[in-house]
Amino acid sequence: MLGRVVRVAVVVAILGLVVTLALAFRRDPHDIKTGTVNKPAPAFTLQRLDGSGEVSLADLSGKVVVVNFFASWCLPCTQENPALVRVYERYRGSDVVLLGVNLQETRENGLAYVKRMGMNWPTLADDDGRVALSYGVYGPPETFFIGPDGIIAGRHIGPISEETLVTGIEKLRGQAVSR
């Protein structure tokens, strides 16, 4: 009798392990659902890197906002930048706003990088890292998709591709239209 119970317990344990691993491997490791995802985006007001004023998230309510955390010392940021440039040009003048948030470096270094990399979208200085901490950023690059309702709909850790950017944006634009 006990032998049978043990056999069943072992089979259940192995099945549990297999299911857990299967679910874990199906997930995109760049797509983390914990922390701030599905919650209201933490509000922020940051100065532009070039000193030409401030940008407040509250002023962008009703728009699809893509917040990209970057730094000049971050190699993956350099790798993802062409995709960001193409996506910015694609949605320029639309209801989609791309914001770059520069962290953990001097404004001079951040601004020089922005100019060198052709980043024409608003780039902001998170001098004390508080905005990054409030979003639960592990390290640059990280990208957050904020819907017109102000909720963080998605988060991408690591260098992002043009396809992932467009997919995330279009999903939120679709929601905005159907509302």
């Binding site: 006990l2 043990v6 317990a9 914990t34 922390g35 701030t36 919650k39 933490p42 953990q104 004390d128 890292g129 508080r130 990054a132 901490l133 409030s134 979003y135 639960g136 950023v137 592990y138 390290g139």
Partner: protein, 153 residues
């Protein structure tokens, strides 16, 4: 007599020192900052606390904790702020009352299962009861013993 007084005074001094050391004291702001940053994980490190890490991210997190302590926020409020941003993962010791708490519960459950298994195995390997030999068998055994003793001389 003098020796007894000296021992009594020494014991009293020891007791007083112990009482002074054990008395509840006001926790300073620095102690609170140390305590909180010891429990928070540095997100860009491998298993290091914010207190122990020298990374820029950890420094910014320490600054945030320091500011919140000075603003009068409670430990729970400060921890809730980090939990809201990073989830339970941000704590080096996951809370028991969450999915992360499985890291505490699973070993205990495995130990209990092991104990049940071992106990069951020990019981099942107990010697089964043996029936008493019949008078015929006893007689045969006695005869055999007597024969072997006679053969040995």
């Amino acid at each position: 007599m003098n020796r007894r007084i000296a021992i009594a005074v020494a014991l009293l001094a020891l007791a007083a020192a112990l009482l002074l050391a054990a008395r509840p004291h006001e926790v300073t702001a620095d102690e609170r900052i140390d305590q909180i940053t010891t429990e928070i994980r540095c997100p860009v490190c491998q298993g290091l606390s914010v207190k122990d890490s020298t990374s820029e991210t950890a420094r910014q997190m320490r600054d945030l904790v320091t500011q919140r302590v000075r603003e009068g926020k409670s430990d729970a409020e400060i921890e809730a702020e980090f939990r809201a941003a990073y989830g339970d993962w941000i704590f080096l010791s996951p809370p028991v009352t969450s999915w992360s708490g499985l890291v505490w519960l699973v070993p205990i459950a495995a130990l209990a299962a092991g104990l049940v298994l071992v106990t069951g195995r020990l019981r099942s390997t107990d010697t089964p009861p043996v029936a008493a030999p019949s008078p015929t068998e006893v007689a045969a055994l006695r005869e055999r013993v007597a024969r072997e003793e006679a053969a040995e001389g």
